[in-house]
């Protein structure tokens, strides 16, 4: 069951600490995945030496660093919104569960984007040939499949944990608002 706007409003007006925590955690994700890549990319593009290196990486190796940073920034903004909504809603609501799962999957997508140098499908295995001028064209392989596999397994475990937390919160809510419990509260 999703919270109605009035429930959300009640939550906002009655839980200032919860709101503050939600905003702070959302701001942290925004800083880490959107502001920081933006600043680093701006600094890199402002420096002619680094910019030429980035151009070389794109033309010779096929790694588009600016494209990777932009993807991370977009995913980072969506992730920050998901974290904010998750923080504002109660653990028993489906919105909270959906946002929790979305944030886990978005973080995994960001990680796989970085590990695959922009190619999520490579699953941590980067294999490139340097298109260098001249007869010699070296090739290199970076194998980080273990990291990709381990982080995917942890993301899967986190999703199961989120489902279990949701089920537990709903059970706890049902118990708290059961007729017997309400009578116990009223009459001691």
């Amino acid at each position: 069951m999703s919270p109605s706007p009035s429930t959300l409003l009640w939550s906002i007006t009655h839980n200032p600490i919860k709101i503050l925590k939600a905003i702070l955690s959302s701001a942290l994700y925004l800083l880490l995945y959107a502001v920081l890549p933006f600043l680093l990319l701006s600094m890199a593009q402002g420096d002619p030496q680094i910019r030429s290196m980035l151009d070389m990486a794109r033309s010779m190796v096929g790694i588009d660093v600016a494209g990777i940073a932009t993807t991370i920034m977009i995913l980072g903004v969506v992730l920050a919104i998901a974290v904010l909504v998750k923080g504002l809603t109660d653990k028993w609501s489906t919105t909270n569960l959906a946002c929790e799962i979305a944030s886990i999957l978005l973080q995994l997508t960001i990680l796989l984007t970085v590990l695959g140098a922009g190619d999520i499908g490579s699953f941590g295995l980067i294999s490139k040939t340097v298109q260098a001028p001249g007869p010699s064209q070296p090739s290199f392989t970076i194998d980080m499949r273990f990291v990709a596999l381990a982080m995917t397994a942890i993301a899967g475990a986190n999703i199961i944990l989120a489902l279990a937390t949701y089920a537990d919160a709903r059970r706890e809510r049902a118990r708290r608002f059961s007729p017997g419990d309400l009578l116990k509260r009223i009459f001691g």
């Binding site: 070296p138 392989t141 970076i142 194998d143 273990f146 990291v147 942890i154 986190n158």
Partner: protein, 158 residues
Amino acid sequence: MKTSTALKTIGYVLLVAQLLIIVGVGLGYLTMIQSLMSTVSPGGGTPVQYNGTIDETTGAFSGTLVISLRNPGMLEVAAHVSIKLNSEDGATLYQTSGDTRMAAGSSGTLELPLSVSGADVHRIDTVVLGLKLATLFDLLSFSVDIPIPAQMGGGPPE
């Protein structure tokens, strides 16, 4: 133990596991970069030395390639070095490879035998040098293959 407490504990365990992987990967790649840099530019001396002889009558050459590797990093490194001598049509005329494991802060040498017949010496078009470094229980690796045209000095000594 309450269910919510147990779930929170599992959450913390998963978080610690994530952090351990991140730290392990960071240390692994730092070790590999340090190992690669100190092997490529060891700071005095060349990482590759060749000792061999050429048969004056047949033109064949045989000898040993000695490769010095260093691991100044914090984890053990497994190194694999390979050398391929290819002809113009892409056929492999000769190939050799060797492996060594270096503990943190140690160094190692690899001795690769080289032996090419006189007929094949003049067919060598490209020498492909391969280096693979693996660390963190061989779970992380970096490998590079560098083809060097024989005309650029990659061929056998004349």
